[in-house]
């Protein structure tokens, strides 16, 4: 019995280590590659460990040859815009879905879910002609608008499932205390679901931060590229040294990792909860 126990815990330990290595290795590799010169990288010898002395120089040279900082700040503009627009729209819609019964609720919920089935590759051409008409091409506002179309429904799910968790009695007692109906959402509900708002904010932020297809199609001016398009331009291009590319990719990745770690759980419960009921 004890032997079996030791054996099963050894198997378990091995399995966990394997998973951690497989999941973490590419990120480790991104970091390690960023700290080696191309001569070392292509010299036929695998550089397993990062060269920490070269850490800072890689970063500074990654930002010198290309407008990487400019691209990152463009990404930040798109990401903040997407977050702001998505949250305002989503908070209102989520409140209706959570607190009211109304005709058309099912259709509305389905329309939200349907956005997850739409291939962006199908919408990109019609959106291009719409944006052309309204002068939104080569314009970061246009990207905010198209990214919000995909980010906002996800925010609605997260917020709706959080609002469902708030007991109705709280709102009822607030009403008895004289809180006007229109203030119910802003003064009672929103403070109670603040953590989920943060989760929705992070996920919408990174929808804008990571998005590539629309950015690639709508933005041609290199000064206006977001970092996703800027980084993708290094693929298949052999002028920029690989370690600089990797350092740039690391700068693009780190904020995402840090933010996601904080809010992962709430995102998940919202996504699965909302996708069915809408």
């Amino acid at each position: 019995m004890t032997l079996r126990k030791t054996l099963s815990s050894a198997v378990r330990g091995f399995g966990i280590s394997l998973l951690v290595v497989v999941a973490g290795f590419p990120v480790y590799w991104l970091f390690t590659t960023a700290t080696h010169t191309t001569a070392e990288l292509f010299g036929g010898q695998v550089q397993w460990l990062p060269d920490l002395r070269r850490f800072l120089t890689s970063f500074t040279s990654a930002t010198s040859g290309v407008p990487m900082l400019r691209w990152l700040s463009n990404s930040a503009v798109v990401a903040f815009g997407t977050t702001f627009l998505s949250l305002i729209i989503a908070i209102l819609a989520a409140y209706a879905l959570s607190r009211y019964r109304f005709r058309g609720k099912g259709v509305f919920g389905f329309a939200l879910f349907a956005t997850q089935m739409l291939p962006e590759a199908l919408l990109v051409v019609p959106l291009y002609s719409i944006f052309l008409t309204f002068g939104l091409l080569d314009n970061l506002t246009g990207l905010v608008l198209s990214d919000t179309a995909f980010a906002m429904p996800v925010a609605v799910w997260i917020l709706k499932s959080a609002m469902d968790g708030v007991s109705l009695e709280i709102e009822e007692s607030a009403r008895v205390d004289g809180c006007p109906r229109y203030a119910m959402l802003t003064q009672i509900m929103l403070p109670l679901i603040a953590p989920s708002i943060a989760a929705a904010a992070v996920i919408t932020f990174f929808e804008g931060w990571n998005e590539y297809l629309f950015a690639n199609t709508f933005i041609t001016d290199e000064q206006k590229w977001p970092a996703s398009k800027g980084l993708a331009s290094f693929i298949g291009e052999f002028v920029t040294p690989l370690n600089h590319v990797m350092a740039a990719a690391l700068m693009f990745t780190l904020p995402a990792i840090v933010f996601f770690l904080f809010v992962q759980r709430r995102i998940v419960s919202g996504l699965t909860a909302g996708s069915v009921k809408g």
Binding site: R12, I16, L19, V20, V22, A23, G24, P26, V27, L30, L41, F42, V46, I89, A90, A93, A96, Y100, R101, A111, A114, T115, M117, L118, P119, A121, L122, L123, V124, V125, P126, L127, S146, T148, P153, V156, S161, D164, S167, L168, Y212, L213, L231, F234, I235, L242, M246, I257, F260, L261, Q264, R265, V268, S269, L271, T272, A273, S275, V276, K277
Partner: protein, 319 residues
């Protein structure tokens, strides 16, 4: 029989069922209007930014519109569709899509569930391990592609170097049509499995501890405890997750496009890649839109099947 687990209740096991506020007699008219005011912005937004382009796409698919002359397309009926179904390349793209999606969904469900079960118990370093296991999900797709194309690099990539150091054969992971779809699928599974893990982990925490105890007393080993105790609880969650994973796989663009552009020789050319190439490389907007519509129909069919299965399973469990 046991009560059916509410699929929509993942992660919020203690939530109260909301009663609609609009049922009180006071201020009937305002109550009835209020929800529509609340959803107005979202509804208008969806109509303009997804509804209108979708209709436009449907219309485009019935025309012979070219990229360089986008306003001069003529109505040609279902010609694009009939030409697609006579096209062997398009049939191949459908096969690639189905193989890629099936492999990605099964792979990520398996790895994600195993990871969730492993993370569910207590052990030292659990918080750190869990954080690392969520990394792939957080890494932006474009960055993930940069890393993987370097790892897969034929001559200097770490994968081939490691394989040859243990005496295994090297492969041109992204340039050899035998391996390219496998390599793309592997990168995709790496990217999406943490989502499954987090969802299943949340669901596992809702499994009553007494049931595990009872199974342990009955002498069931770890695998059987999982199969008989946890799995029935997980099934509804797994079904929803499988649905999301499938429709996301159908439309996944960046990872495939940036790793291989659908090549070599069409071996990773999925439906969305064809849609994009037909529009922006071959300039055939009409034909591209028709392909996109076929993809959308596929996703819809899958969604309907999933809901049907879900309801069937619910009925069976309720008996």
């Amino acid at each position: 029989m046991k009560e059916r687990v509410d699929v929509t209740d993942v992660g919020t096991p203690t939530r109260t069922t909301p009663r609609a506020l609009g049922t009180t007699p006071r201020g009937q008219r305002g109550r009835r209007l209020a929800p529509y005011l609340f959803i107005a912005a979202a509804a208008v937004y969806l109509l303009l930014l997804t509804g209108a382009p979708l209709l436009d796409g449907l219309w485009l698919s019935l025309t012979d519109t070219q990229l360089l002359n986008p306003t001069e397309g003529a109505f040609i009926g279902i010609h694009n569709y009939s030409s697609l179904f006579a096209d062997a390349e398009f049939a191949h793209a459908l096969v690639v899509t189905i193989v890629y999606s099936t492999a990605t969904v099964l792979g990520s469900l398996t790895v994600g569930t195993v990871a969730a079960v492993a993370m569910n118990g207590a052990f030292r370093g659990r918080v750190l391990a869990r954080a690392i296991l969520t990394f792939p999900w957080a890494v932006p797709s474009v960055a993930a592609v940069l890393i993987f194309s370097w790892i897969y690099n034929k001559d200097s990539g770490v994968l081939n170097q490691a394989l040859s150091s243990v005496g295994l054969a090297q492969h041109g992971w992204l340039v050899d049509p035998t391996w390219s779809l496998f390599a793309v699928t592997l990168a995709s599974v790496w990217k999406v499995f943490p989502f499954v893990m987090l969802v299943v982990l949340a669901a596992l925490q809702a499994v009553p501890e007494e049931l595990y105890e009872a199974a342990r007393v009955d002498g069931a080993d770890a695998f059987n405890r999982f199969r008989t105790v946890a799995l029935p609880f997980l099934l509804p969650t797994l079904r929803v997750t499988a649905l999301l994973m499938t429709i996301w796989s159908f439309r996944r663009f960046e990872i495939i496009w940036l790793l291989t552009q659908g090549g070599p020789v069409g071996s990773t050319n999925s439906l969305v890649i064809s849609v994009y190439r037909e529009a922006f490389v071959n300039s055939e907007l009409g034909r591209s839109a028709a392909m996109g519509v076929v993809g959308l129909v596929l996703s819809t069919i899958v969604t309907v099947i999933f809901f049907y299965v879900d309801r069937g399973a619910a009925r069976k469990e309720a008996l």
